[in-house]
């Protein structure tokens, strides 16, 4: 099996594999671990090219492998499995949308992760602001978010944006940080009623709703002046949760996966659902597990795949805050009790999992050709984040979206015959 992960993540996967081997004494799993996902993708492609593809591999955008015939169709095995084949086992309809291509099962998801709010409880208490709620019914509106962000943005002379003499070049505490990488940005777009990548291989970034959401995020920095330039906290050497812990930012939007790291830092934090544009929404994603079509050990590979889709395996990483459940069994009261960990999951976090994710979480669709398409979007949006262009100018007027659509059409043609 070829996958990735931070040292903590690797530890938990190791434990899982150990248990699998205990339960299946005739199978040994060689776990080829490559620390960074991007590097693992290169290693995976190289292995496939060299004819030494791993039996099971991790991949978040896995449809490219399906289109080229590198992944095995596991539909029959799925349907025959008493546990996995049950219609309500996985969170639906998200899992079917994620794991199937043309109705056939290829990439069963490992878990779910979703972007939401993390806040520094002390900074909010200082400013006298009621923290955002993990209950989607009580979510902040985007305008409330902007107003609270304004109150939480303080320059070296204790002034706020909008105050006379506010110096945006000498801010000691930023109110908010909403990153612009695909996952975080998608949260805003879906909340405004738009979408990013469609299952019909269209790019939704050019719709009025999407453009509005993108512009609103850019304006947080350039107009409202309550957020640092987005790239700043996404660059090397600085992560947004470190900025949260050190009090440089009061509220950040980042993935639920950050909980594992945030829980290790010594400060009072809380979690809330994303601010609402039109309706509460977030996006769901995670890496899928696929069986290589070249495998010499299909039965053993399936057994491993089935184990990787079990509650037992998923539980270890949900407990430490890295993953969110994708099985309905872990969303029941008993299920929740089995993974909520004090010191990791803040009060009310179960609502994020049972209500927010389940009822308002959209599967973030990864079409074949995603890597290149996303790169094109990122390059097109660069001038928007520094206020050089509007979202409309950068995506629509420039013709960028046409180029992206053409690319997606090509990819769709390739995968149509699978």
């Amino acid at each position: 099996m070829m996958g990735w992960g931070s040292p903590l993540e690797k530890e938990n996967v190791d434990l899982g594999l150990q248990r699998f081997e205990e339960q299946n004494p005739d199978i040994t799993v060689e776990w080829i671990h490559i620390p960074v996902a991007a590097d693992q993708q290169v290693a995976l492609k190289t292995a496939i090219a060299g004819g030494t593809a791993p039996d099971v591999f991790w991949s978040t955008p896995y449809r490219d492998f399906v289109a080229l015939g590198a992944a095995m169709d596991v539909t029959e095995l799925m349907e025959a499995d008493p546990v996995l084949g049950a219609p309500d086992y996985f969170l639906q309809p998200q899992e079917t949308e994620r794991a199937t291509v043309n109705g056939k099962w290829f990439g069963i998801g490992s878990c779910w992760v979703a972007p939401h709010i993390y806040y520094n409880a002390d900074l909010l208490a200082e400013a006298g602001i009621d923290p955002p709620s993990p209950n989607p019914a009580e979510a902040w509106t985007f305008d409330e978010f902007r107003e609270f962000g304004r109150q939480l943005t303080i320059d070296n002379n204790d002034r706020h944006p909008g105050d006379e003499g506010f110096d945006v070049n000498n801010v000691r505490q930023w109110g908010v940080s909403w990153p612009t990488f695909d996952i975080a940005l998608a949260g805003a777009i879906y909340s405004n009623g738009g979408y990013t990548w469609g299952t019909d291989y269209t790019a939704g970034h050019g719709s009025p709703e999407a453009l509005q959401a993108i512009q609103a995020i850019a304006d947080l920095t350039n107009v409202d002046q309550i957020a640092p330039v987005p790239a700043v906290l996404q660059q090397m050497g600085m992560s947004d949760w470190q900025a949260l812990a050190s009090g440089n930012v009061a509220i950040i939007i980042t993935g639920s996966w950050a909980l594992q790291d945030i829980a290790q830092l010594d400060f009072n934090y809380g979690c809330g659902v994303l601010p609402v544009f039109q309706e509460p929404a977030t996006v769901l994603l995670a890496h899928s597990h696929c069986i290589s079509s070249d495998t010499d050990n299909p039965e053993e590979a399936w057994k491993l795949l089935a184990y990787l889709s079990s509650d037992e395996y998923q539980l270890g990483l949900i407990k430490v805050g890295l993953w969110l459940p994708s099985h309905t069994t872990l969303l029941t009261p008993e299920g929740i009790e089995s993974w909520m960990t004090e010191g990791v999951h803040p009060e009310g976090y179960d609502l994020i999992v049972t209500d927010y994710v389940a009822n308002y979480g959209h599967n973030l669709f990864y079409p074949a050709g995603y890597a290149e398409a996303n790169d094109l979007i990122v390059a097109a949006l660069d001038p928007v984040w520094i206020g050089e262009q509007t979202a409309q100018e950068a995506l629509v007027d420039s013709g960028a979206l046409e180029e992206i659509s053409a690319h997606l059409q090509e990819q769709q043609a390739q995968i149509a015959d699978v």
Partner: protein, 322 residues
């Protein structure tokens, strides 16, 4: 046993190790042959390595450049298809522009800086060794590790560089968010590595004969004039060498862009090598990547030939007395 001294039939006469041939039961393994054989055996690993891991793969990639290969299925012959695609590829031209711009800015600055520092450090004051070592140190830092650090230094909000600028009263610079500043940052990161070339210039400086300086001084040449009529002409072979190597290296810039910017912002740092990597390993287009690599090779080859024909003519080689 018979000992026969055989006079050498060839023109060169080796006085000590001559053509002493010892007849041993019908086989004549002369000392010269033995030495040759030993020589070949010693260079065999290097030659084999070159064939297996350089020449061989290069030939394979040349073959591959006429195919379309998605890494999963077998390569498909498409003739000049990759080269046609390249011509029409927007990203290709963007990449060429970015790479040439970078090289055009970096190489003159880099050579000037290395040369100037070498002149400065070509003194015998105590402690000069420390400075020479200090300026060389960046060269031994792994580029990937240094890139991470530079990412922090250039961070627009929390980075060291903007902190200094703020303290001096300037506005923060959006280093990796604005295209021209991203290019400037790339140049700065590469200039930091001037120590390696400086050391070469230093060595060459110390090879310039003192008597030429004395002669020039006697004729009334100022220090500056001596620089232009003695130092630079005498060092011209080394300057030329460093310049050619500098250009070749600059056109292949990769690591900093791969680690920090991933080609952004707005493709300002989408250098050619990075594009090859992305096409081959990200977009499943290894045949196209191979074609791109060969175009780069051909371009650098042609450019080097051009430089040799033009600047090469201006180089003064002492032995040849030109």
């Amino acid at each position: 046993m018979e000992y026969r001294a055989v006079a050498s039939a060839e023109a060169d006469v080796q006085p000590v190790v001559g053509e002493l041939s010892i007849a041993v039961r019908g086989s004549r393994l002369s000392l010269r042959h033995k030495e040759a054989l030993a020589g070949y055996i010693f260079i065999l690993p290097a030659v084999l390595g070159f064939i297996l891991w350089t020449a061989g793969p290069m030939l394979y990639s040349l073959w591959l450049s006429f195919h379309s290969w998605n890494l999963v299925q077998s390569p498909k012959w498409i003739g000049l298809g990759n080269f046609r695609e390249m011509w029409n590829d927007r990203i290709f031209w963007t990449s060429v522009r970015a790479t040439l711009t970078y090289a055009a800015i970096l190489v003159p600055l880099f050579q000037l800086l290395s040369f100037a520092m070498a002149l400065l450090l070509n003194t015998k004051i105590p402690g000069i060794g420390f400075f020479r070592a200090a300026f060389y140190l960046p060269v031994v830092v792994p580029v990937a590790a240094a890139s991470f650090l530079w990412g922090f230094i250039f961070n627009s909000e929390f980075g060291l560089l903007n902190y200094v600028l703020r303290e001096l009263g300037f506005d923060k610079i959006l280093w990796f968010q604005e295209p021209r500043y991203a290019m400037a940052a790339m140049v700065i990161m590469s200039l930091w590595l001037f120590g390696g070339t400086m050391v070469i210039y230093l060595a060459a400086l110390q090879g310039v004969p003192e008597h030429l300086y004395e002669a020039a001084a006697l004729d009334g040449a100022s220090a500056l004039r001596r620089l232009f009529v003695v130092t630079i002409p005498m060092m011209s072979p080394v300057i030329f060498f460093n310049f050619v190597l500098g250009v070749i290296g600059a056109l292949q810039i990769f690591t900093q862009a791969y680690i920090i910017t991933d080609g952004g912002p707005q493709n300002a740092t989408r250098f050619y090598s990075l594009m090859i990597y992305q096409k081959g390993f990200r977009d499943f287009q290894m045949g196209y990547a191979a074609a791109l690599a060969w175009v780069l090779f051909a371009f650098i080859l042609l450019l080097s030939l051009l430089v040799f024909r033009s600047l090469g003519k201006m180089v003064y080689y002492e032995e040849e007395g030109r």
